[in-house]
Structures are given as structure tokens and as C-alpha cells.
């Protein structure tokens, strides 16, 4: 069994590269929001945010290097989030409109 001193050490250069990428993507988020793609604005914004999330999770939170059990746990929580979203949308979009907004 390996000791803690044998954990993977992410090189300094990788962290700085990830930081630069995140800064670039933040600028992109703001720039893209100036254009009007209608409903696509939210999709584009979420796509960029998810790309940023990938870099934070993979490098800052070490999911890329760690034991895969942490990655599986994270993906499970996202899966159940999608389940919650799916059934909520299914419910609300199939309700007969009586009054009010929902």
C-alpha cells in the first residue's frame, strides 16, 4: 500500500495553464453574452460553464488523477440531478393550464 507521499503531484505548470484557460473562458462567457442567439444564449453560456467546470473538476479537484470512485460519486450526483430535472419538467409541461403560471 502506498503512503500519502506517493500521491500524484500535479505540476505547477498545469495549474497555471488551467488558471489561464479558466480566465480566457470567463472572458468568453461575457463576450458571448453580448450577442443575441435567442434561446441559444443559455445553451452557449451553459456549454462554456461546463467546460470551465471540467477544468476545475479534473485538475483543481484532481478527479483526473484520483481513484475513480470519486469520479463515479460525482457523476452519480449529476445523474440524480438530471432525474430530478426530468421528472419536474415532465410534470410541469404536461399540466393543464388552470390559472397562474405553474
Amino acid at each position: 500500500m502506498s503512503g500519502p507521499n506517493e500521491h500524484h503531484i500535479v505540476p505547477l505548470k498545469t495549474f497555471l495553464g488551467v488558471f489561464a484557460t479558466l480566465m480566457f473562458l470567463t472572458v468568453m462567457t461575457v463576450v458571448v453574452a453580448q450577442f443575441h442567439f435567442g434561446a441559444w444564449n443559455t445553451v452557449v453560456a451553459m456549454a462554456i460553464a461546463s467546460l470551465k467546470a471540467f477544468f476545475v473538476l479534473a485538475y483543481f479537484m484532481h478527479l483526473k488523477y484520483d481513484d475513480k470512485v470519486f469520479l463515479v460519486g460525482f457523476l452519480l450526483s449529476i445523474f440524480f440531478l438530471i432525474v430530478m430535472y426530468f421528472f419536474s419538467v415532465l410534470d410541469i409541461s404536461t399540466r393543464p393550464v388552470l390559472n397562474g403560471i405553474l
Binding site: 470567463t26 451553459m46 483543481f60 440524480f80 419536474s88 405553474l102
Partner: protein, 221 residues
Amino acid sequence: MSTANTTEYHHHTAHHFDSADAEYRASKLGLWVFLMTEILMFGGLFVGYIIYHQKMPETFAAGSKFLDWKLGSLNTVILIFSSLTMALSIYYAQIGKKAMVLYNLYITFFCGVGFMVVKSIEYSHKIHDGLLPGSLFHHAAEAGSAGVAHLPIYFSFYFVMTGLHGSHVLVGMGLIAWLIVRAHKGHFGPQYYTPLECVGLFWHLVDLIWIYLFPLLYLVG
């Protein structure tokens, strides 16, 4: 800022673990389970947000006009930078540079202070203008303009989501302050940095949530 101790700190693995590595892995697994509950807690709010956004896009577009995207961007930069310094504090613990661990923890802490200062500027502005959630809303928005009728709903989402996120930043700052105290005592090095790792994971998750909150609240078209 001296980390020189006459007696070197040595972390004792709790007796119910086979090895220091087993303890490290168990601590991390426990923290990840906690992060999963955090994702589901914030996730509920995100699901609510997306559904209401689809139901009344004009309201959310009108509401986001009341937010200053420059302050939101500034806070995004602050949080991402603090995530970098948090990650670096672990990196320097792994290679045994204790002074650099401390510097990076201090920078991370003060980034948290900076974030909360910007947040409080935004909040006091909204409170002054009566842009408040639900029935507390009393802003004199021009009647007749699209979506204004449901603005209190937008600000309910704004205050609940940023409020819950802000309280997480405060908790994270408290934990980082605790790490600073321990780092001053020279507790962290290549052999033992579990608290740095766990608080770091929490801090990155708070950053992660803000990465989604920023475009959703400030930049809706």
C-alpha cells in the same frame, strides 16, 4: 511568518485505520459524499431556476438588467484565482515548502474577503432599491414593460441562490482560517495534508457553483 518549530509535528493516524493512506482515502471519500449532497442541494435550486426561466424568459432578462455584470465578472475572477491559490497550497505541502503553503492560504482567505465585500456592495444596492425577493419587493419598476410583473420571483432566485452560495464562502473562509492556524504550527507537509485537501475540495465546489451562477443570473439575454 515563521514556521520553524523546535519539535517537528507528526500526525498520528487514527487507530482504526490500517495506514495513513487508508485514513487519507477515507477522509476524502467522506468529503466527496458531502459534496454530492451539496450538489443535490444547489441542484434543486438550479432545477427551479431553469423551469421558471423557461416559463418567463422576459422576467429573467429584465431582472438580470438590474445586476452589474462587471461586479459579477470581478467576483468570478476573484473566486477562480482563489481556487488556484488553494490548489497551490496543496501543491506546496506535497513538495514540503511550508512557507509557500501559508502564503497561498492567506491569499485564498483574502480572496474570500474580497468576494464578500463585492457581494455586500451588490446586496446593499439591491436592498436600497427595493429589489427584494417575493412580497418584500417594492421597486418602482416602470409598469407595462415586459416581464416586470414577475420580477419578485427573479429576485427570490437571486437572493436564495447567491445567499446560499455566499454562506458557503463564509464557511469556507472559516475553514481556511483554521488551516492557516494549523499551517503556522507546521502541521502540513508531504506526509500529511488531508485537511488542506478536504477544505480545498469544498472551496473548489463553491467556485464551481459560482461558475454556473454567474452566467445564469447576470448574463441572461
